[in-house]
Symmetry: C2
Subunit: 329 residues, 2 copies
Amino acid sequence: MRERDLIDHILSLLPPPPSGILKGIGDDTALLAVQEGRDLLVTTDSQREGIHFRWDWMTPEEVGYRLVVVNASDVYSKGGRPFSAFVTLGLPGGTSSSLVERLYHGIISGCQEFGAYLSGGDISRTTGGVDLSMTLLGMVKKDSFISRDGLSHGDRIYSVGHPGLARAGFLALAGENDSDDFKEAIARFKRPRTFPMFPDWVEKHPFIKASMDSSDGLGQALSAMGRGSGVSIVLDSNPDLAYLSKVAKNLSIAPKVLAMEGGEDYDLILAIPENRAVEFEKEAGELLDDPSRGSLIYWGRADSAGQAGAIMADGCDANDDWGFDHVGD
Amino acid sequence: MRERDLIDHILSLLPPPPSGILKGIGDDTALLAVQEGRDLLVTTDSQREGIHFRWDWMTPEEVGYRLVVVNASDVYSKGGRPFSAFVTLGLPGGTSSSLVERLYHGIISGCQEFGAYLSGGDISRTTGGVDLSMTLLGMVKKDSFISRDGLSHGDRIYSVGHPGLARAGFLALAGENDSDDFKEAIARFKRPRTFPMFPDWVEKHPFIKASMDSSDGLGQALSAMGRGSGVSIVLDSNPDLAYLSKVAKNLSIAPKVLAMEGGEDYDLILAIPENRAVEFEKEAGELLDDPSRGSLIYWGRADSAGQAGAIMADGCDANDDWGFDHVGD
């Protein structure tokens, strides 16, 4: 069963949400009404040894920091700001206290960078490798939450970041490819970037129709946005993927495939009304203050024809199943 | 390193909490200020295959339900009510979709029973066994949160429930002891009880000085309350543990040791001012509407003499390290 089908099935078991749950399962974060002027965002994401990281690739500080980034990215992509973090740790017998301490150094450093306060958690033994989960609470101004499913016909879809770059870094590590071509890609895999300035930016430019992060790959993100919105996505024939050319050539993978199948990127995927695209292209530079944050890439447009969630490339049906799927068969 | 020392160390790495974090690490739940009249409670707890449960002992529905109880128990013990739940699932490769579905049936059934709405989560692969974590959000009336650390000299300490009974069930399962003596104990281990009526009760009887649940054993709970409050605990010489007599005899463990070393009980441990003890003993019956919820047991009193957190039995120093410790050496 694919993760998507499993989640659809879980949804079918649930009663309708009570009034305080504005959004439950199905977006990057849940949205809960707890206050007059602001709503609560909640997201949860894991980092597991042997699945998301390996100790011969990353330090404990990097693993701890990354746990925070992957959660903060969800909160930022909805227009919110992190404020309180909870960590669940699973430790195999014999784990050294110095490893645990170094994990927490990374976690606390990430929490401080993104304005979240480590407020609780749980530690227990596990029979597998080290695993970490975080539940991150954030706040968003009333009516400022940006969902995945706000696309309509004609909307332009952009990414802000470097889709596929972290995936190239992962493939280089997995293939023990030590070419200098992968230096930046490996750094991106180990220490992903996120967009803490996005909530401020959105308040100044309130025309974003939909957004999410690309943590499971651009293809899966586009497909999820399309499905949620009841539109298909028609890809542009020639996105500018110059930043992938060296690594894609070295890996013998087409840059577009690398970007679409990506994952672990934590880029922003944004939908903009057609008549605001020029303005957006001019203003988005503020999100890319530092060249290492990536670039702005136009990917295509939403189309009310075609199957919801399908990705159409160059007029043909493309694979609508790009990106990572965690459950398997 | 013991879990307690590890948590103390993590606390030493943290900056002081910002104003919205009323309570962070160190109690059964965190307490966050998000609303005028009510505060937010957050707790997180895990159930791991091979650590907290075994598939030859429990059904997936039981495991899912138990995940909810162990979290709801923390919220209830603080005087709060659950409202929104997030589940993180780790699945080994090849996990069947029917197992996952049955876990969610148990989770959703528990959520419905305790008034929480399943609002999000995360599913990923794991290299170990199946593991589940829940982060549960609850609400508590402003100034109604009952902390662990409110004990003062002379306060009377009671448990409401059946401390040690679940532990006896666990030991019977682990020892493959199929004596009829263990029927109730095994049922309690598999399907722990909690106290959803406690928040209502507290509003009617606002004299509880401190409370927590006994999830890591009564000994560890008493010690944690004492440490947090700067008092020692002087045990009564003769708590009424008749409900443990058969199982304790069968296991050749003293009933008091079974109760103190317990764990997986989810009983309430309450501190009452000396001058309200008679009233409390009369009123606590409302919490025990159903005999299977257990009984009221008087354990002893808080004493400002002696080392904070020490448990003194019959005038002698008892083991202050009772209960489960998850980290190990």
